[in-house]
Symmetry: C2
Subunit: 148 residues, 2 copies
């Protein structure tokens, strides 16, 4: 099966907003205004674990994680990044990238299981997406993530 | 500074047991018998974030994550793997690899913040380390993780 047969898990779709199609992954904004929180969802049919990706797909995902991490640092100046692939509730492989601050609601704990998310208002969503604008330039992403 | 100047964070040292020296990372067993739980700690001075590693170091870490994931699957047959780099409390870059089961104490939540860990008894530690024995063969690891 090719990536054309891939479909985003409906729970991930409900909990996040689309940002960009990267080479391997769909990049989404998690719908919780408490944290600048990205999701990378590789468009690989039936992938649940990182090791379900081929070695080359893993390396592309790593480059996408690297690039999106740099975007979060540049645009939001967090105190720490949290990167995680858990998938205990939603099995479709997805990677969380979360910008954390020492004064955010969950610090220093992980963000999961802290009660309901603070959904973005339309205005707040527009503002956040505009701050993420650089990451939306998929062409630019491709140029920047050549191996060094 | 070279990796010879690197020192394991004392809190990570207290909370885990040494398993092996991989090419980039020190591999350790987290001291919580509730879960088969590995730590990969790259021996890179002052690294806090994944992006503090060079592109080539990132790729070695990815290969170490891939290999250790396969060892956990092969030896413990978990329902899910959890992979995370958080570092909100201990800044030294470290990656958690945790074998999860639908009947484990935290499922389906993440494992962090669930109260004190269940420390291994000496006998249980020996049993667990022996089940992880394949991952201790660093030479074998090097052979297996050539890029494909």
């Amino acid at each position: 099966m090719s990536s054309r047969d891939w479909q985003l898990d409906p729970r991930l779709a409900d909990d996040s907003h689309p940002l960009a199609q990267l080479d391997l992954s769909e990049l989404r904004l998690f719908d919780d205004g408490n944290y600048p929180w990205l999701l990378l969802v590789p468009r690989v049919v039936d992938a649940r674990e990182l090791i379900d990706l081929s070695a080359s797909q893993q390396r592309v995902l790593l480059a996408e994680i690297d690039h999106c991490s740099r975007v979060l640092l540049a645009r939001f100046a967090p105190d720490k990044l949290n990167i995680a692939a858990l998938g205990n509730r939603v099995e479709q492989l997805h990677v969380h990238l979360i910008a954390r601050y020492r004064d955010d609601p969950a610090w220093p704990d992980p963000v999961w299981g802290r009660g309901p998310p603070r959904r973005y208002s339309p205005e707040a969503l527009v503002e956040r997406v505009e701050r993420l604008h650089p990451v939306l330039h998929a062409r630019e992403l491709r140029e920047q993530r050549q191996p060094t």
